[in-house]
Amino acid sequence: MRIPCPYCGSRDASEFSYSGDATLTRPAPDNADAMFDYVYLRDNPVGVHREYWYHDAGCHAWLTVTRNVSTHEVIDAVLAHDEAAS
């Protein structure tokens, strides 16, 4: 699998670390029920999913990658920093 890093270009997946679901927002720490759900009750979706990948052997940027987890087709990759700013 290759990931099109917006900074570096197309790179092998071995250069990246997978960092989980990009569709969730971390709840306030004092909301124990919401935190329990956030930490433990994760979905296991098929098909298109959005997830964080960290380019640790390259530009050290966090990416938000849209990927079909059934076929490994990578549909889109953007800098998570840019996405958060927009």
């Binding site: 570096c8 092998d12 250069e15 052997a57 390259g58 050290h60 940027a61 920093h81």
Partner: protein, 193 residues
């Protein structure tokens, strides 16, 4: 009294095999720094670099400047700066010149630098680099942060001879040399002093 000796990162670089497929030279005495733009200061940093050094700060994975001084794009808002003009305490003065615009970190003793050329260079690098370094995909001026045999490297293509500069963490210099010697021996590795 203990005397400290200055030992270059690639002091053990030596010729291997027959032929002149890869020509290697350690770039010594070069000041190296990482520069990271402070939040919201990218445009001001680019203006300061242009004004103080007449260098266009690259926004992507490219190098700007010359052997004397270069800014290499290594990530969003991050550069590796090399300086070969012998200015004493260069990194200290760079930090002052870019004060409040960027974080400047001294790396001169942290990385080893090699200059590689020779007719078999791309063939040999292909044994370790998982990206296309040909002239179409990686023209002169291109920079890549990637890995060779699990060791982090920064590559900069200087010209299409091809000549490639490579930066490796100093603690990995011995292992990197082992990889280079083993990979280049078949084509011949020559040390150009």
């Amino acid at each position: 009294m203990l005397d400290l000796a200055h030992i270059p990162a690639f002091a053990n670089l030596r010729s291997m095999g027959d032929g002149r497929g890869v020509i290697a030279r350690e770039r010594r005495g070069i000041a190296v720094a990482t520069v990271m733009a402070r939040k919201g200061q990218s445009a001001a940093l680019a203006a300061a670099v242009k004004e103080q050094f007449d260098i266009n700060l690259p926004l992507g994975p490219h190098g700007s400047g010359s052997d004397a001084m270069s800014f290499l794009g290594t990530g969003p808002g991050r550069w590796l700066v090399t300086h070969d003009a012998g200015t004493p305490r260069f990194v200290d003065s760079l930090a002052q010149q870019l004060d409040s615009l960027a974080s400047v970190v001294e790396q001169s003793d942290g990385v080893g630098l090699l200059r590689l050329s020779g007719p078999a260079l791309l063939e040999v690098l292909a044994k370790g680099v998982a990206i296309d370094l040909s002239a179409t995909a990686f023209p002169a001026g291109s920079v890549a942060v990637t890995q060779i045999a699990h060791m982090g490297v920064t590559l900069w293509k200087v010209d299409e001879a091809p000549t490639i500069h490579i930066a490796v963490a100093r603690s990995m210099a011995g292992s990197f040399l082992h990889w280079l010697e083993a990979s280049a021996a078949v084509a011949g590795l020559v040390v150009d002093s």
